[in-house]
Assembly symmetry: C2
Homo-oligomer: 274 residues x 2
């Protein structure tokens, strides 16, 4: 079927336009979208260039483009509006009602959403990321005192990407500790975790899915065998029950969803916001 | 001044509502916002609970709440609309024009934006994250063939968080290699990097800022001395010039912005989209 080009226009990174657009586009199943981000449209020339590019793409295609934009400055918005396509702009729609509600004029300054307007927030994210890296896979366990959350689960249950996401997105300090044969044979958690029991959060996963993921890493051997995988998951469930550790099943959910479920369940506050 | 509570309502993670809301709120400087995410509103009961919570917060405050929502299902949206506050909902506003343009009914299925609707995209992000970790800080350099981008720069110039962000957000394979005294003394890059020159991208940073960041890590010693920092940055610039490496100054920009600048400059395609 015909391809529909979707543009994400921004005077900054394009992250907001991409996120908004993606949420809306996933509501339509039968389309063939090609997605193009045009970031840093922060001069009139760049705005005109974007219009040219969009109109050129429209000529060769039968379907007009869809344009998600988050341009803060009125004059650039006006230029871009000349592009042929369906325009969906969050500032067009939401800025006026918000300004009226807040009884304040918007600054119309670009680059405030994902820029460095807040150095403090930037440093928090970097520090949280460093913390996640230092405390990955049971690495250091000497500074669990600083952790907001300590994720526990078997190898490949999603601990590392979830910790990194929590750090980068929300500045949350997340450590992770892998459950291995040592814990399973003892039937208990190490002292260093028991001391921080209130911070523990478990990731569980269905055996078939875990095997599939592990096989991509190491196709042969005990690590990805049905027997080992079932054993590890069974023993992990026992540990979760024994210590009353809240947990979420990661089998069919995304990194964002795991992270949101953890924050919702634990009540840990986001230190920064995207 | 009075605090204004801002709610992010979602039937899923809340990431879209948070991102949209944040972009809009940063346009207003003189406000005191408290932000609360209410994710996973996927039953009528949860929708009613959210309304109760919002209305309760409204009673004790003089200012009515602002409600950013991304609820896909009409019946939940209707319940939530009863909450007292300013409602800003992307589906209310954008879904109809988009459906008309695409000549397709929206599915109204929740959880498609940041869910696991696309296992393939999930795996790509995880694999890219594993790649970034394995190739962090010059770690392994044997699989640079697989890299989309190899970031080079001095210690604490932002390489690691940028690589992780590129992986988690876009599934891009980003390695990084720290420039140290070894490269500076030789005045050249190691063979393994020269072989991949077309993939190199540099991160530069202002001396004062670098010193500030390094001091937080190690307050004393050569690492954060003015002399050492200036030397490293001067030598790095020489290397960037000698090899014609494109680069971006990270001094005043966010992780998102560094990532977007790199993708824009290199033309590397996003493997997945947020």
């Amino acid at each position: 079927m015909d391809q529909r080009i979707v543009y994400f226009l921004s005077d900054q990174t394009g992250v907001t336009a991409e996120t908004l657009g993606h949420s809306l586009l996933t509501q339509f199943n039968s389309q063939n979208f090609r997605q193009v981000t045009l970031p840093f449209i922060d001069t009139r020339d760049k705005a005109r260039e974007a219009v040219k590019r969009i109109n050129a793409s429209g000529i060769s295609k039968s379907l007009r483009p869809i344009i998600f934009s988050t341009l803060v400055q009125d004059d650039f918005r006006e230029i871009v509006r000349e592009a042929n396509g369906l325009h969906l702009d969050i500032f067009d729609v939401f800025l006026d009602p918000l300004a009226e509600e807040l009884q304040e004029e918007p600054t119309h300054e670009p680059g405030r959403a994902h820029g460095m307007s807040d150095i403090d927030a930037y440093m928090k994210r970097i520090e949280a990321t460093n913390f996640a890296l230092a405390n990955d896979d049971g690495g250091i366990s000497s500074n669990y005192d600083m952790a907001d959350i300590i994720l526990v689960g078997v190898s490949r249950s999603g601990k590392t990407p979830t910790c990194l996401y929590l750090a980068l997105q929300y500045g949350v300090y997340a450590a992770n500790y892998p459950l291995t044969d040592e814990e399973f044979e003892n039937g208990e958690l190490p002292e260093v975790l028991v001391d921080q029991k209130h911070k523990l959060f478990g990731l569980s996963i269905a055996p078939d899915r875990l095997r599939q993921i592990r096989k991509e890493r190491r196709p042969l051997g005990r690590y990805s065998s049905a027997q080992q995988v079932s054993y590890e998951i069974r023993e992990t469930d026992k540990l979760f029950r024994r210590y009353g550790i809240p947990h979420v099943d990661t089998t069919e959910i995304s990194i964002e969803e795991i992270a949101s479920r953890i924050l919702e369940s634990t009540g840990v506050e986001r230190r920064v916001r995207p």
